[in-house]
């Protein structure tokens, strides 16, 4: 399973690329928690917190925007407003078994849990659960968004 990458595109919004096999059940298994315990509940809520509000961008493109934009890359750049570098990264590692999704860290409304994820302990937990590629996490603020051919 390929690693998950996260690119922040603002304070709360992010683009996540992860294996489609990374489901809630897979994440609970990665968390090594016994079913029906406080630990599995925390992991399940972390999943909701991080992945609950994801918009599947490839599905969005295929279902609604394909006639309007000549390629997925154009859709990401012009419709979604993603920086060029982020679009290139997505396209470079895109495949059918990878989810490309737009997330909103505030979508779940689980304020205290999302605050905990910002701590060193919480971030380490999320990184382990989602198999985050720490070296490839970034924000897209340095990218220009002036043109896309």
């Amino acid at each position: 399973m390929a690693k998950t990458t996260v690119t922040w595109i603002g304070d709360d919004k992010f683009v996540v690329m992860m294996d489609r096999a990374m489901t809630r059940e897979a994440v609970i298994a990665r968390g090594k928690a016994f079913q029906g315990t406080f630990s599995s509940e925390i992991i399940s809520r972390l999943w909701d917190c991080f992945c609950g509000g994801l918009t599947d961008l490839k599905k969005e493109y295929e279902d609604y925007y394909k006639p309007e934009y000549p390629s997925f890359g154009h859709f990401l750049f012009w419709k979604c407003g993603l920086p060029k570098r982020v679009v290139r990264t997505i396209l470079a590692s895109d495949s059918d078994d990878r989810l490309v999704a737009l997330g909103d860290a505030c979508a779940s409304g689980d304020y205290i849990l999302s605050q905990m994820v910002e701590s060193e302990v919480g971030h380490g937990l999320l990184a382990a659960l989602l198999d985050l590629d720490e070296g490839r996490q970034s924000d897209g603020e340095d990218d220009d968004h002036e043109s896309e051919s």
Partner: protein, 138 residues
């Protein structure tokens, strides 16, 4: 005048009751929370273990020392007014059996992990411990 357009909360501390039938340990708290020892959640269990150790004091001492806060001068009265009959019975049985019964408070303004635990409402029990943090609701 300052206007803050975001969540505005005051800090808080919420009570827990811990019955120890075995010595408190990080491994024990991991088991209590329902995880394997090598779970990525282990650091959270370790924080909980550390804070229970740090804040937990014999319940009789805590009730006696904080009578002004809750108005109860003895543990029995305190439990009657603040927890369910079942929990009061559990505490009485533990004391009868010679187990350590402790009480303390988790705070919302120490760090993010304790703040999370402070705001959660949970009750955990296994052979070694009973932890009641049900009063932890906002």
């Amino acid at each position: 005048m300052k206007v803050r357009a975001d969540f505005v909360t005051n800090s808080s501390a919420t009570a827990f009751i811990l019955i120890k039938r075995a010595d408190l340990s990080p491994e024990g708290v991991r088991r209590l929370m329902g995880m394997h020892n090598d779970s990525p959640l282990a650091p959270i269990a370790d924080v909980l273990s550390e804070r229970l150790e740090e804040y937990g004091r014999p319940i009789d001492d805590v009730v006696r020392d904080t009578v002004k806060r809750h108005g109860a001068s003895d543990t029995e009265t305190y439990l009657k007014e603040n927890v369910s009959e079942e929990v009061a019975r559990k505490v009485a049985a533990a004391k009868e059996a010679g187990h350590s019964v402790e009480m303390g408070w988790l705070s919302s303004d120490v760090d993010e992990v304790e703040s999370f635990l402070c705001c959660e409402s949970f009750e955990l029990e296994n052979d070694d411990y009973y932890l009641n943090a049900v009063a932890c609701y906002w």
